[in-house]
Amino acid sequence: MMKQHFLFPFILLTLLGCATHQTNDPDLYVSGYYIENYNIPTNSFLEIKSDSLYITYADNELSAIKKPVNNKDTISSKNGLLVIQKRQHSLFLQSLNENKTKVSDLTFFPVAKTKPLDKDKVFQKLYNNTFETQIDRTVSSPNSDLLIKKSFTFEKDSVTIVYTYSYQEQLMYSEKEKIAYALIEKNNHLFLEFDSSDYPTYKKVCQIIALNNHSFTLNHYRDRETIAEKYIKTQPKQQPEKTFKPCRDSRPGEYYFNNTNYAKGNVYLMNKIREKAPLTSGNGYITIHFTINCNKETGRFGVEQMNQFYEPATYDPELIKYLINEISLLKDWPDLKLDYYYQDIHAFLMFKIRDGKIVDLCP
């Protein structure tokens, strides 16, 4: 009898433990992004019905295609071919032209099964309230050393997003942006749609997967992954003066794609910045990451500090704060040669520190 008691949970554990991924396929997918190498947000849905897939595009155009039979299937369409590929956590849809060259791609993610959420009640919980979460880095700038908090304060049709950057429990910098948002209901699921990009169909859609009086959790999508972010209700704080909005809520270009070097050169920049720079101690490097948008404004900061042996290190918070704020004031960026796919640039300035002083600037 005791043996049976022991064996039953053990068998159950064995069956459930490593095999939880073997679930039924979902019937509703949300578009994470368009052109996966750029992660351009777009607001489309894909529904699986008996023998067809229905895609509702951002402009409300409905397209029906036959249900694929394999994990990777090619389907004829009006202007060429569609290849649909089932991946581990997503559906990948590529459109090819008549020469079988890829025109574009779209990645869909399964909509999570949640308790039904009432749109009006959700709005009431969000409206006039502030919710905050901690993130490792922003979409556009790498970071290892700053503690970054992101908050949403909802109004009727718009949301103010604030980023605060702290280091060693001191506030280094903060910035805000205000964008339009909408609550969207689809097959009893609720989504937040952010008008965060430069083009009407490049809206970011995140699924609300949980909500109560104190918090809500959003699923968003990046690089073939679904990322859950839990936002906790907090007291509204004084909003920062600085405003920064990337021109497109997607992966930015890198500084070396086109000439984005500072128009007056590194020597000018180093001399200007180090003139009033607070002293620190040690030898190594401080890298300040940032994003330059299509209006040549800077924001979305990140920091990485290392010693002369290229290992993690720490420097005086006063210096870090000073460097970030100095970079936020720089104006003489060259005209950015942006293309169809990216509208912002990720750049970084790496300050070389010798005996606590800035002695060089790279790259």
Binding site: A263, T287, E304, Y310, P363
Partner: protein, 289 residues
């Protein structure tokens, strides 16, 4: 042992085995030939579907990591995986990978990874002492070979620039002149080495040998494929010091004209030493008036 304790023990072993299986190399059971094949496959995806324009992206990194999971000690793949982090300014990770690639490579008496490191040390980290140390080690390993290339540039050219940046101008001059001599011995025309001659001229300038500096600048001005804005600018500075203001002005005006036509030193990834900018030229012109 009670059954309850036994159950807890077995359950713990079960969970740990589930967990550790995730950390194991999934390619462990493959032969080295199969691993090599798989690594090539992943590497090729990283450089085609997620190629250089997306080199700093996560997907490029995932394929690079997968290749390295199949062949963990592959020097070239490890070195090339570090590019992604270096280009995005995530230098701790970049250097961890590069240092590992160098250690594996040098162990085999090969200097390929070290050559790239010397180049990176100079231009990306402005770590001049390390540049010199790395070039010295390359020369030692490859002895008696006189000419060594470092990621597309002569290693001695990097070493000369490192001395120049450290203010050791005599060492810089000797290094550049030795490099030009080696090139001549190889049957090449030393005057074709624009950048070596340019920094040789700059080293003479910093050593207060204005005539020698001007000689190399003017010689390069006569060459067909050199970058002319910087040559004119620094020649102009020498004429200022020689109190020949009219000649200086002509050179500065020419430098400005050429700068505006983009006939200037330019590298997409880095700013070269002594590269000039429009404000530098304007300031010299204003200074003459």
């Amino acid at each position: 042992m009670s059954l309850k304790s036994l159950f807890i023990l077995i359950a713990s072993v079960f969970f740990l085995s589930c967990k550790s299986s995730k950390n194991e190399n999934p390619f462990e059971h493959l032969s080295s030939e199969e691993r090599e094949k798989l690594a090539t496959f992943y590497h090729n995806i990283s450089i085609t579907e997620h190629h250089v324009k997306f080199q700093t992206g996560r997907l490029h990194r995932v394929y690079k990591d997968s290749a390295l999971m199949a062949v963990p000690d592959h020097v070239e793949y490890m070195q090339r995986a570090s590019y992604s982090y270096k280009k995005s300014g995530e230098h701790i990770k970049a250097m961890q990978m590069l240092n590992k690639a160098v250690a594996l490579d040098v162990e085999k008496n090969s200097t390929k990874a070290l050559e790239y490191k010397a180049w990176s040390m100079l231009y990306f980290y402005r770590d001049y002492e390390s540049t010199i140390k790395d070039v010295d080690l390359i020369e030692k390993i490859n002895f008696p070979k006189k000419y060594n290339g470092c990621h597309g540039e002569p290693c001695l050219f990097l070493k000369g620039q490192a001395y120049y940046q450290l203010g050791e101008y005599q060492n810089a001059i000797e290094t550049f002149e030795y490099l030009l001599k080696i090139l001549e011995e190889k049957g090449l025309d030393p005057k074709d080495e624009f950048l070596t001659n340019f920094y040789l001229a700059r080293s003479y300038f910093k050593s207060n040998n204005l005539d020698k500096s001007l000689f190399y600048l003017e010689e390069q001005l006569e060459m067909p494929y050199t970058v002319k804005a910087e040559l004119n600018f620094y020649a102009g500075q020498i004429y200022v010091l020689k109190n020949e203001k009219e000649k200086a002005l002509q050179h500065f005006l020419k430098a400005k004209e050429l700068f505006l036509k983009n006939d200037k030193i330019y590298e997409p990834f880095i700013e070269r030493f002594d590269e000039i900018f429009i404000d530098d030229i304007e300031s010299e012109i204003t200074g003459l008036n």
